[in-house]
């Protein structure tokens, strides 16, 4: 065995990079919401790319190690404790048989990642270990962890040699209650009036309680659609379009009052007008926001999005290099 779940926390799931290449079947990728924190966790414990970790949301679990292990906690500031004693985040730690890992209250951010040398060993489903709870597949029995679950740990490559390594302070993100997300306006943005598009970009939106792995809903403004005779097949509501695909990170505004950013476990398509997409580099930031946090959307062009993606990739390479 490896890890026994004494209490599961609010929502703790097994996640890896995600289940890609199945979008045309209607299968969302699932996978870690904050890819940066997830990946850096794996670097810290010396894992191969793509090893599965635990994604811990808002309130942490209590986990007993039934064998010695090398671990790291990254992401949200939810201070980990080993046998009740506070332990550092963004640092490789060693735990022994019988040690209990628990978490203090969330201080900032929303999601922590527990990486374990060797990875969480659950069966692959369609080439991924990520949990997709909506239809109950992947991860540990297709669901969030429950009290009494036992998880196996995979074979470690080089966990022992990693103990004590730490991510340079410059690379540790600070999570604020106010976030700016960069978006590329497009898709069916022609459906919004010009004034409403401006309002969308000028409004400070508040994250509602509907903020999870499926998507984040916001409130704070009211957007209007361009009046038109609805085209064949679209349905009668002005927010409706002929059902089409939704990119990950895409933003839709059903009813005009609640923009929703679709995330890793979202529906892959539907009939609501989409107006733009959060760029891939900023999905990590979004994943660390929570109910009542403030968010602004800033319009960028493709070049800026690709530059941000490249910078983030280089930063991750640099971190990886410094830890191995």
């Amino acid at each position: 065995m490896g890890i026994r779940v004494k209490s599961p926390g609010l929502l703790t799931t097994v996640q890896d990079t995600g289940r890609f290449g199945e979008y045309a079947l209607g299968m969302p990728p699932s996978g870690a919401m904050d890819v940066f924190s997830y990946q850096v966790g794996n670097y810290l414990v010396g894992n191969e790319e793509g090893a599965a970790s635990l994604e811990i949301t808002y309130f942490g679990p209590e986990l007993e190690f039934t064998e010695g292990a090398v671990i790291a906690v990254t992401g949200a500031e939810m201070p980990p404790k080993i046998n009740g004693e506070e332990a550092p985040t963004w640092e490789t730690l060693e735990v022994g048989e019988g040690d209990v890992l628990s978490f203090d209250y969330l201080k900032s951010g929303a999601r922590s990642y527990l990486a374990v040398a060797g990875g969480i060993d659950v069966p692959l489903f369609m080439h991924s270990r990520s949990t997709y709870t909506l239809i109950g597949l992947g991860g540990h029995e297709g669901r969030a962890l429950q009290e009494g679950d036992e998880l196996k740990i995979g074979e470690s490559r080089n966990g022992g040699g990693q103990v004590g390594k730490r991510v340079d302070d410059d690379h540790i993100p600070a999570y604020s209650r106010e976030t700016e997300l960069r978006v590329i306006i497009g898709l069916a943005s022609y459906r919004l009036t010009e004034e409403s598009m401006e309002e969308f970009l000028n409004t400070t939106w508040t994250v509602t309680p509907d903020a999870d792995r499926v998507g984040y809903r916001y409130r704070g403004g009211e957007l209007k659609f361009v009046e038109r005779e609805q085209p064949a097949g679209a349905g009668s509501d002005p927010a409706n379009v002929v059902d089409f695909g939704y990119p990950i990170g895409s933003i839709q505004v059903p009813g005009g009052v609640e923009p929703i950013v679709l995330m890793n476990d979202a529906v892959t398509g539907g009939g609501y007008a989409t107006i733009g997409t959060v760029i891939s580099a900023d999905r990590d930031k979004l994943a660390q926001t929570k109910t009542n946090d403030k968010t602004r959307f800033r319009s960028v062009d493709l070049d800026e999005a690709l530059k941000a993606r490249k910078d983030r990739g280089e930063q991750m390479e640099e971190i990886k290099g410094s830890l191995t």
């Binding site: 079947l25 209607g26 299968m27 909506l134 069916a188 064949a232 695909g245 529906v267 690709l306 993606r309």
Partner: protein, 301 residues
């Protein structure tokens, strides 16, 4: 293809879906022709095996491509897509290797009836059922006439998604015969698995239980998604429907419903289906005559 052909087609909108997606809306309005174009373009792209393309998702009147922008620049893909669009043109002569499938549905079944009654307060017309309402707003005198039209012609699977395995189906009839209904005013929080629903211009089978906003007309006894891959039709994929499939929804009674369900339970159920080379030209020229032929292939010897 000559320029004259292109000017007849609505101008496609090419758009970035962030840095990882390219979204192409061929037309704001649904039509059989636009879906044939989406299918032809995405089939062609698939054959080209371009490095950096990770997902190719044809949809009703549009399509979406997921890419790895570290390998393939979105603009590079868009230039190629524009060329393919020209090559495909107005899809004259396009052939689709597909299959015709018999899909049993029980209309007015007890399960969707229970669900739609529970959510009357979210419906346009709380005093009638979804079927009665849809029949009325589409100008049918009776529910039975409406059901006859609904099940009288086969359907094209035009998109898969929302949740895994859910097929959107558009009927193979001329535009003036297309049925259209609004979605619920506010979506239900519950829809039974395998419910046969209708929204906008599309019929669907809900692959899993869950939220939904389509009008509920009936239920299928057989799955479109089989995560355990127990049934023979799911040996290669957990999802049965494929874009381009031609489905004939066939009305069944409770007795047949129970029999099919028992076959699914035993793991012996197989969809009745035949391979078919579909010619969109013919479906656009004389759909009713072509439909007769299609159904002959499915149910004939």
């Amino acid at each position: 293809m000559g320029r004259s052909v292109e000017t007849e087609l609505p101008q496609a909108r090419y758009s970035y879906g962030g840095d990882e997606f390219v979204f192409v809306e061929l037309s704001e309005a649904m039509s059989l022709k636009v879906n044939f174009r989406a299918m032809a373009i995405t089939n062609k792209l698939r054959d080209e095996n371009i490095e950096g393309v990770t997902d190719i998702c044809p949809s009703n009147a549009s399509y979406m491509i997921r890419i790895d922008p570290d390998v393939l620049h979105p603009d590079e893909l868009i230039s190629r897509l524009k060329e393919i669009d020209e090559e495909v043109g107005d899809i004259h002569g396009f052939e689709l290797n597909t299959r015709v499938v018999d899909v049993p549905v029980m209309i007015d079944d007890p399960w969707t009836h229970e669900a739609l009654m529970r959510f009357r307060d979210r419906h346009q017309d709380p005093d009638s059922t979804d079927l009665e309402y849809s029949a009325r707003i589409n100008g049918y005198d009776s529910k039975e006439d409406f059901i006859e039209a609904l099940l009288g012609s086969p359907w094209l699977v035009t998109m898969i998604g929302f949740v895994p395995g859910l097929p959107w189906c558009y009927q193979l009839v001329p535009p003036e015969e297309q049925i259209e209904v609004p979605k619920y005013v506010r979506p239900r929080t519950y829809t039974p698995e395998r419910a046969f629903g209708f929204g906008g211009g599309f019929a669907v089978i809900y692959s899993v239980e869950g939220a939904g906003g389509y009008q509920l007309f009936g239920r299928s006894p057989v799955p479109v998604l089989d995560v355990q891959q127990r049934l023979p039709d799911f040996r290669d994929s957990i999802v049965f429907p494929k874009p381009g499939d031609i489905w004939n929804y066939r009305r069944i009674d409770r007795e047949e419903f129970d029999r099919f369900e028992a076959e699914v339970e035993e793991g012996t159920f197989e969809y009745k289906k035949k391979d078919f080379v579909f010619h969109p030209d013919r479906a656009l020229e004389d759909p009713h005559a072509y439909n007769e032929e299609i159904l002959g292939v499915l149910y004939g010897d």
